[in-house]
Amino acid sequence: MISISRLQKRFNVSDGVVAAIRSLDLEIAEGELFVIVGASGSGKTTLLRCIAGLETPDAGEIRIAGKVVSSDNPPTWIPPQQRKLGMVFQSYAVWPHLTVCENIALPLAEGSQRIPRREVAQRVQEALRLVQLEEQSDRPATLLSGGQQQRVALARAIAVNSRIVLMDEPLSNLDARLREEVRGKIRELAKQLGSTVLYVTHDQIEAMAIADKIALMQAGELLQVGAPFEIYHKPTCADVAEFFGSVNWLDAQVVEAGVADSPLGKLQIESSSKVGDKVLLGFRPECLSLSDSGANCSNSFQAKIGSSTFLGDQFIYTVIVNERQLFGKNRTIPQSPDGTALCRVSPSDIMVFPSRSKNGG
C-alpha cells in the first residue's frame, strides 16, 4: 500500500546539516497496522511527513497505493492535498474555532474530494459513531478533554480516508491509563475498517501491543522490520534487542560447536558461530528461571541472591554469579536459607550476536 525506496531527507540547521533520514526502504502491505518505533530524534516524524507530503525528500521515491507521489527520477511531486491520506497529528491539530462536527465536515466539504452536502452529513455521523462522539457533535472542539480531542482527530482522519491512515504519536498527550484503553480501540477500529495504518511511537510497549508489524528506526535508518514476536525474540542486532527490553549481556567465546565460554561458565547456545569466535550473549530477565530441584540440567549455575524490587505484578531481582550481576524477573522472590539459588537459562532463550565492545551489568 505504501512503498518507499532510497528515501533521504536532510535539514539545514544553523550549525550544519542534519540527516534525518538516510536511504530508507520500506514496504507496507494493505490492511497492515505498521508501527515505526524509535527513540526521540530518530526521524520518525520526518518519515511520516515525507509520506504525507509535508516535507520534500531530497532523494528517493514514495508510492501510495501503487501511485508515485514523490520521486527524484523522474521528478514528481504530488502536493499533500491530492495524496488522500487520513492523518492524526501529535498535537491532534483539532481546529479550535470549529465544533466537533465542523472539524470533520470541513475537509469533506471543502477539500479536494468535494463531497456533496448530504453525503458529508452522513459520513460525519458515521465517523462520530465509530469513535463514540455522537453526543459531543455540536460542542466547540476546545471544550473537549484531551482524550476526546484525540478521538475527533481520529474521526477526521478516517472520514477523509479510512483506507490509509498515518498517526504520529497519537497517544503521547494522554495520561498513562487512558493510553492503554485508546490503543486497543485504535487497533480494533483499524481492523474493523480494514485500514492500512502507519503508526509512529517512541514507546516500545505501545508498539508491540498494537502492531502487526514493527520497524525499529535509529538515526534515520530502519534496523529491523518484523512481527512483534519476532522482533522481540529474534532481534538481528544487539541494539534492537536492547530497545525492546532489558537484557543481561555476556561477552563470550565459542569453545566448541554450540558451547560458549562466558563469565557464568560454559553455556549451551543455539548458534552456528565458529569455534574461536568472540560473541555477545544476551538473555532477557524473564528468561532467568530459578530451579530449586535437580542441579544436573544444562546451563544452570549457583547464584547469590541480591536485592529485589516489587513492581506489583512481579519482582525484579538481582543475582550474582562469579561477581557478575544479572537481572531476573519473576512472580515470586527467590528465597533460600543460605542466600543462594540455582539459576537456569535455556539455550533457546540466549540471543547470540557478533561481539562488540558491550558490557553487561
Partner: protein, 579 residues
C-alpha cells in the same frame, strides 16, 4: 495529476501555491526599490527630467550642499528633531514608568490616553498650538501682551524649537508605548535584589532601573529621531506660513513652488536621497542598539510580577502631570479648533465672542471640495486596509512558515518601508508617476497613487503584528488542513484567518485610522481629483482660512471619535500596539 520538478520550488513544501504567495509578497519590496531608485535617478538630472534633453550631472548635489539656505534648513531640522525627541521623552518616559512600575491608580485610563494619543493627528496639535501661541493670533500671546503691556509677542511657536515642542507633544504617545514595553520586559528581581539589600526607591530608580533601561531608552530615542527628522505635517502647519523651513517642507516648496517659480525636481531628488541615507543610517543604528539590548537583556519569565513602587500622596502629583500633558497636547488644541470652527473670526474667547458662535463656516465651506475629499478618503479607508491585510498576511505566512533563506529577504523587504519616511515614499511616488509612468500609466493625480503609497507605508506594522500572531498558531493546524485536502487558499480562509481574527481586526482598524488622518503623502500627491479630507484641511489652512480649516477638522473628528473608540476596545483585546 500535476507534476512539477522538485528542483524548481523556491520556498518550502507547499509547491506552486507558495510561489503565488511569494510573488504577492514581493510586490511591496519591488515598489520600494523602484521608488528609491527613481529618487536617485532624478537627483542626477538637470533640465527636463526623463526626456532625452535631460543632462546627467552631479551639479544638483554641489548646488544643494553649497547653498547657505539649505544649510540653515538643515540646522533647523536638527534643532527641531532634538527638541521634539527631548519633549517626547520628557512626557512619555515618566508616564510609562508610572503606568508600569508604580501603583498609580487609573492605569487603564493612562493607557487609553496614551494609545489614543497615537491616533490624534499631529495636525490637530499643530493647528491648536498655532491658535494658542502664534505670534500674531495666538491667544496666549495676546493675553500676555495685554497683561504686561508688552510691545511684541513673548512666545513664538513658529521657530524650530517651538515646532519641536509641538512635535514632541505629538510624539510622546509613541515614546510612551516604546518605553512602557521596555519597562514591562525588565526583570523585576534585579530591583528586588536592590531593595532587599537596603536601597530606597529613589536610589533604586536612579542606580538600577534607569541604567538597565538605558538601551531601551536609546532605542526609543533613535526611533523617534528617525520619525522626527522627516516629519512633514507639523512643520508644514506651523512653519510654512511663517517661512520657517525644515528639510521636508523645503522639499515641498521645491515641488510646489509659490508664485511663478518652476518645480525643481533635481534638487528635490538630492534632498530626498540625502534623507534616505540619513534614515537608513539611523535605522541601522537602531537595529544595532536593539541587538545589543538583547544581549544583556535580563530575561523575564512569565511568572515575574514587578514590585510596584508605592506612590502614596505622590499619586496626586503624578496625575497632575498626566492631566497637564493631556490638557496641553490633546484637550486644549481640540477645544480651540472647535472654538475656531464656530467663531466668525479668530480672536481670544470672551463673553462677547461666545454670543457670536455660529455654524456659518459649515455653510460657507466649499462643499463640493469637502465631499470630493470625503469620497477619496472613504475610498482609501476602504481599500488600503484590505490591501494591507492581504499583502501583510501573505508576507507573514511566508516568513513564519518558510524554511527557505528567501524568508530573510522578505523580512527585510517588509521592514524597509519602516526605515523610509513617508515624505520619501510620497516624493518617490510623485517622481515615478511624473517621469517614469508619464502618460502611459496615468497614475499622477489619481487616488490610486496615494493608495499604493499608503499600502506600502503601513505594511511594516501589519507584518509585524501578523508575524506575532501567526507564530502562536501551531503548525500542525494548517498541515492537518493540507493533508485533509484543503487548498492553500481554503486553508488560509477557513483555518488560519479565523484563528487570527482579533489581530486582523486590529490591524485593519489601525490602518484605517492612520489612513484617515494621514496628511504628508496626501499633500504631496493631491492635485485636484484625488484630494483627501486632511488635504482639504491643509489647503484651507495654507491659504489662510483658519476658521474653515477648523470647521472641516471638527467634522473629521466627529467621524473619527467612534472609530477611535472601537479601536480602543478591540485593540485592548488583541494587544497590538501601533508603532
Amino acid at each position: 495529476m500535476r507534476q512539477t520538478s522538485l528542483r524548481f520550488r523556491l520556498l518550502g513544501e507547499k509547491g506552486q501555491t507558495s510561489s503565488a504567495l511569494l510573488s504577492l509578497a514581493l510586490v511591496p519590496m519591488a515598489t520600494i526599490l523602484v521608488l528609491v531608485t527613481v529618487m536617485f535617478w532624478v537627483s542626477i538630472q538637470k533640465g527636463a527630467v526623463g526626456t532625452p534633453s535631460a543632462i546627467y550631472t552631479l551639479n544638483n548635489y554641489s548646488e544643494v550642499f553649497s547653498d547657505p539656505f539649505v544649510l540653515r534648513v538643515a540646522a533647523n531640522t536638527v534643532i527641531f528633531t532634538i527638541t521634539a525627541t527631548l519633549v517626547a521623552l520628557l512626557f512619555g518616559l515618566p508616564i510609562a514608568w508610572l503606568a508600569e512600575r508604580s501603583n498609580v491608580p487609573g492605569k487603564t485610563l493612562i493607557y487609553a490616553i496614551m494609545t489614543l494619543g497615537l491616533l490624534i493627528p499631529g495636525i490637530y496639535t499643530a493647528m491648536g498650538w498655532t491658535l494658542i501661541a502664534h505670534p500674531r493670533i495666538g491667544i496666549l500671546n495676546r493675553w500676555l501682551v495685554d497683561l504686561f503691556n508688552l510691545n511684541e509677542a513673548p512666545i513664538n511657536i513658529a521657530t524650530p524649537i517651538g515646532m519641536g515642542f509641538v512635535q514632541g507633544l505629538s510624539l510622546s504617545a509613541l515614546a510612551f508605548i516604546l518605553t512602557a514595553q521596555m519597562f514591562r520586559a525588565m526583570n523585576p528581581t534585579l530591583e528586588e535584589a536592590a531593595r532587599v539589600h537596603g536601597m530606597g526607591y529613589g536610589k533604586i530608580l536612579w542606580r538600577v532601573t534607569l541604567p538597565l533601561a538605558r538601551p531601551g531608552i536609546l532605542a526609543a530615542v533613535i526611533y523617534i529621531l528617525t520619525i522626527g527628522i522627516a516629519t512633514f505635517d507639523i512643520p508644514a502647519i506651523l512653519g510654512l506660513g511663517n517661512r520657517v523651513y525644515m528639510l521636508s517642507t523645503f522639499i515641498y516648496l521645491k515641488v510646489h513652488p509659490q508664485g511663478a517659480g518652476l518645480p525643481e525636481y533635481g534638487i528635490t531628488g538630492v534632498v530626498g536621497a540625502f534623507m534616505i541615507i540619513v534614515a537608513g543610517l539611523l535605522t541601522l543604528w537602531y537595529s544595532q542598539v536593539l541587538r545589543q539590548g538583547h544581549r544583556f537583556e535580563v530575561v523575564t519569565g512569565k511568572g515575574y510580577k514587578p514590585a510596584l513602587v508605592p506612590l502614596g500622596r505622590w499619586s496626586i502629583a503624578a496625575w497632575c502631570f498626566i492631566g497637564g500633558y493631556t490638557l496641553i497636547s490633546k484637550l486644549l488644541p481640540l477645544l480651540l479648533i472647535a472654538y475656531a470652527a464656530l467663531t466668525p473670526y479668530f480672536v481670544p474667547p470672551s463673553l462677547a465672542m461666545m454670543r457670536q458662535l455660529s455654524l456659518s463656516h459649515f455653510y460657507g465651506m466649499d462643499w463640493e471640495l469637502v465631499l470630493r475629499g470625503l469620497t477619496n478618503t472613504a475610498i482609501l479607508v476602504t481599500v488600503v486596509p484590505l490591501a494591507v491585510l492581504l499583502l501583510g498576511f501573505s508576507i507573514s505566512w511566508l516568513i513564519v512558515r518558510s524554511r527557505s533563506r528567501a524568508r530573510y529577504a522578505l523580512e527585510f523587504g517588509a521592514f524597509l518601508p519602516h526605515a523610509l519616511p513617508e515624505v520619501i515614499l510620497a516624493i518617490g511616488a510623485l517622481l515615478l508617476s511624473l517621469f517614469v509612468f508619464g502618460t502611459s500609466i496615468p497614475l499622477y493625480g489619481s487616488v490610486w497613487l496615494i493608495a499604493i503609497v499608503y499600502v506600502v507605508a503601513r505594511l511594516a506594522f501589519a507584518t509585524r503584528a501578523l508575524n506575532g500572531s501567526l507564530l502562536q498558531i501551531h503548525r500542525e493546524l494548517e498541515e492537518a488542513a493540507f493533508v485533509a485536502g484543503l487548498s492553500t487558499f481554503r486553508t488560509a480562509w477557513r483555518v488560519l484567518l479565523p484563528l487570527i481574527r482579533p489581530t486582523l481586526f486590529s490591524v485593519w482598524i489601525w490602518s484605517a485610522l492612520l489612513v484617515y488622518r494621514e496628511l504628508t503623502v496626501a499633500v504631496f500627491l493631491a492635485v485636484h481629483d484625488n484630494i483627501t479630507l486632511p488635504a482639504v484641511i491643509w489647503s484651507y489652512w495654507y491659504s489662510g482660512s483658519i476658521n474653515k480649516a477648523s470647521a472641516v477638522t471638527l467634522l473629521m473628528t466627529l467621524v473619527l471619535a467612534p472609530l477611535i473608540l472601537a479601536a480602543w476596545c478591540f485593540g485592548r483585546r488583541s494587544q497590538v500596539s501601533a508603532q
